[in-house]
Symmetry: C2
Subunit: 195 residues, 2 copies
DNA sequence: GCCTTTTCTGACCGATCGGTCAGGCTCTGA
DNA sequence: TCAGAGCCTGACCGATCGGTCAGAAAAGGC
């Protein structure tokens, strides 16, 4: 068959992105991807050294953006770090919904593979930043819930346009994150309306 | 060997719970579970009809609690529904951290299996309740982010005691959820949702 | 003692996985 | 015209998966 100077490479990548997001990395076989593109499994392995290499190329842009967010956070503390982490991660999650969905579902094994080992550290730093570098458990918990939830939500709302999703998420994060050094409206004692 | 009137059944269940939570349902083989218990794979399949039956028995208590929460939500609307959904789901997530972690990671395929088909509907209703039955996208998004994030967070903080985790999550949810009939800064256009 | 029931096992099955390999096809430039 | 590069394939490999089955080993009532 031999198509015009390999658009096949890109087609495989696109099909893999689609299927990984739905079925997961482990749940998608090379055969599945090959079938969708209309080539043989051997052809997939001609274009990509192995399954992991295919995943790595797929994730590269998202990882690059995550890395650059990590760099931007390097010099910041407190509320400034929170704000940059919030806007940066929301942007990233909205733009790379599918890629993040893959990472989300298969954390334990994927992060053991050499190409993705540093991601755990980066996302730990991101969580710390979103918690305003507070070591209060409640701040850490809130940050983790938000990061995880946003990853999930973006994968779920595939059909919501970016420009609707982004502000909604950003508003949510700003409301939900535990403030650190901003002047707080009430003392941390329980001035509760519920109990 | 033939142990005293099968504690083996329970041991298999416990080992499966541990491994599913770490490696996922699909990522854990019957061989793995058998090895941890110290029996043969065939023995696992003597106590459980098949892998899915093992999972179903493991999930039963969590699903029962989810079902009862669903029942409790049946007659409620607005802020009352939000509050019950919030406390109920936080309780459930804290108590059944491991079980929820399994469901979380392997949604698409697990929910296709007959034993779990109705869970998707229940969790949709739960999300709606947490959104105060508002159809504003931002309310729906916030609810989904919170539900997903909490599931993830509980699985992550395995070593945090229940009594520390629960209030932290509850505070977060109450702060993050979009209020429906509480006094709002902007005039509510759609006060009446479904009557 | 013996017989039945419960518990457990090794050997085996078909299916599927990721990956290899030798070779065929088409295009291109000399 | 022909050699070589790029692209693609079917056949095949070893490993692992969930699951079956005949029968051994132990437990318990008689």
């Amino acid at each position: 068959m031999a198509r015009a100077v390999s658009e096949t490479h890109g087609e495989i990548l696109a099909a893999a992105a689609r299927q990984f997001a739905v079925t997961g990395y482990r749940g998608t076989s090379l055969q599945d991807i090959a079938r969708e593109v209309g080539v043989s499994k051997a052809s997939v392995l001609y274009h990509f050294a192995n399954k992991e290499a295919l995943l790595a190329e797929l994730m590269a842009p998202a990882i690059a953006m995550l890395q650059s967010l990590d760099d931007k956070l390097a010099g910041l503390t407190g509320a400034a770090a929170q704000e940059v982490a919030a806007t940066g991660f929301v942007d990233l999650a909205v733009r790379f919904r599918r890629e993040i969905a893959v990472l989300r579902g298969e954390f334990p094994e994927l992060l053991c593979q050499p190409a993705f080992m540093h991601i755990q550290e980066i996302s730990d730093r991101l969580r710390n930043a979103l918690a305003g570098y507070s070591d209060r458990p409640s701040a850490q918990i809130a940050a983790l819930v938000l990061l995880a939830g946003i990853s999930e939500a973006c994968a779920e709302f595939v059909d919501v346009p970016d420009d609707d999703l982004r502000p909604a998420l950003l508003t949510l994060v700003r409301r939900a994150v535990e403030p650190v050094d901003a002047p707080q409206p009430q003392p941390p004692t329980t001035e509760d309306k519920e109990s």
